[in-house]
Point group: C2
Chain length 203, copies 2
Amino acid sequence: MTSVLVCDDSPLAREALRRAVATVPGVERVTTAANGEEVLRRWGADRSDLILMDVRMPGLGGVETVRRLLSADPGARIIMLTVAEDLDGVALAVAAGARGYLHKDASRAELRATVTQALADPTWRLAPRRLRSTEMGAAPTLTAREIQVLEGMSHGRSNAEIGRELFLSEDTVKTHARRLFKKLGASDRAHAVALGFRWGLVR
Amino acid sequence: MTSVLVCDDSPLAREALRRAVATVPGVERVTTAANGEEVLRRWGADRSDLILMDVRMPGLGGVETVRRLLSADPGARIIMLTVAEDLDGVALAVAAGARGYLHKDASRAELRATVTQALADPTWRLAPRRLRSTEMGAAPTLTAREIQVLEGMSHGRSNAEIGRELFLSEDTVKTHARRLFKKLGASDRAHAVALGFRWGLVR
DNA sequence: ACGACGGTCACCCGAAAGAGTTACGGGGGC
DNA sequence: GCCCCCGTAACTCTTTCGGGTGACCGTCGT
């Protein structure tokens, strides 16, 4: 029974990853965890053949989780997931024994190819490479204006206030708002702000 | 020149901590960092006498940062900051060499006392203790109902929908909403959701 | 050259939201 | 005993939001 464990603190990314991994031929079970602690806690009772784990997670970070997991089970196969910003974290994780890494904006095909290969060859290690594309669990791409409007919302400003701040008419702000709602799948500004935080688009 | 470094990924908590620490007699400089990487990067050029660091941070977690910091500089004095939920992280950090820890809802007075003592005595270690109170940079205390309402907002639900979900009238939901706005200092629901994320009240 | 997309703005309209106020019962603290 | 906070609920009133639609212009890619 081939099983894969997906670990990411972002619920949206986690779901997207789970769905993507589930389509890989041969994978019969995909479990998920929200943080490193959860992975370690469950590893004793429930070992997977492969772990996909985010580098940046609250609590026990991905790097430390890799260390502790490998000291408990040197045979564990782990692939780190990362965004462009924390390449050093990836380097640490690979140094600690992770088999490779994937950028979060890797295409679904690249993700599947990597998972397939890692499952097929127990000794496989990823030759470092950079990936692009906009598939998988990548955050929706907002334009600069849309992010400015979203940030305004996250600071509690009304459309009119955002407009004054950005030297735009309120109607224009509303247009940007409507467009970013659609991209994010948000039903209102509160939802949009929440999704912005969950996707890491705003802080 | 006595200097203290405050490290927390939450901007609000960071500012609150910075202000609190700055009032400690003898402290002449307070610098801040948003994550472990930043602390490590700057440690070579700019060493502080004491570090206050959050346990849970994105990227390099507090525990791992303690390890790497102490392996680079065994004399570094570090106090971990934590919320009630990650006591294991604290245990790890203390095991790794942190001098002690403070709950984030410790009173400002307790924070100052701890910092004063840690600065005065280079060998000081905190005897484990639990603290309470609502001073310092603690997140506003929302009631269970208020958090439920805030979570509903973060999922894009209207007041009426939240009411149906929680078996409350829409008017009651609006009352909870108004009260949580006031506690958080939010001007509308989008702002409240943003503050909820920044304070770590919702995910 | 054409179309898709992004940035700008406008108008209409119904549905929400938010502020203000009142109220009543229960619990905890002083 | 009293007061403050919480949970519940209702009422009114004004503002804002969000959807729908249409429009003009510039850019980029094909």
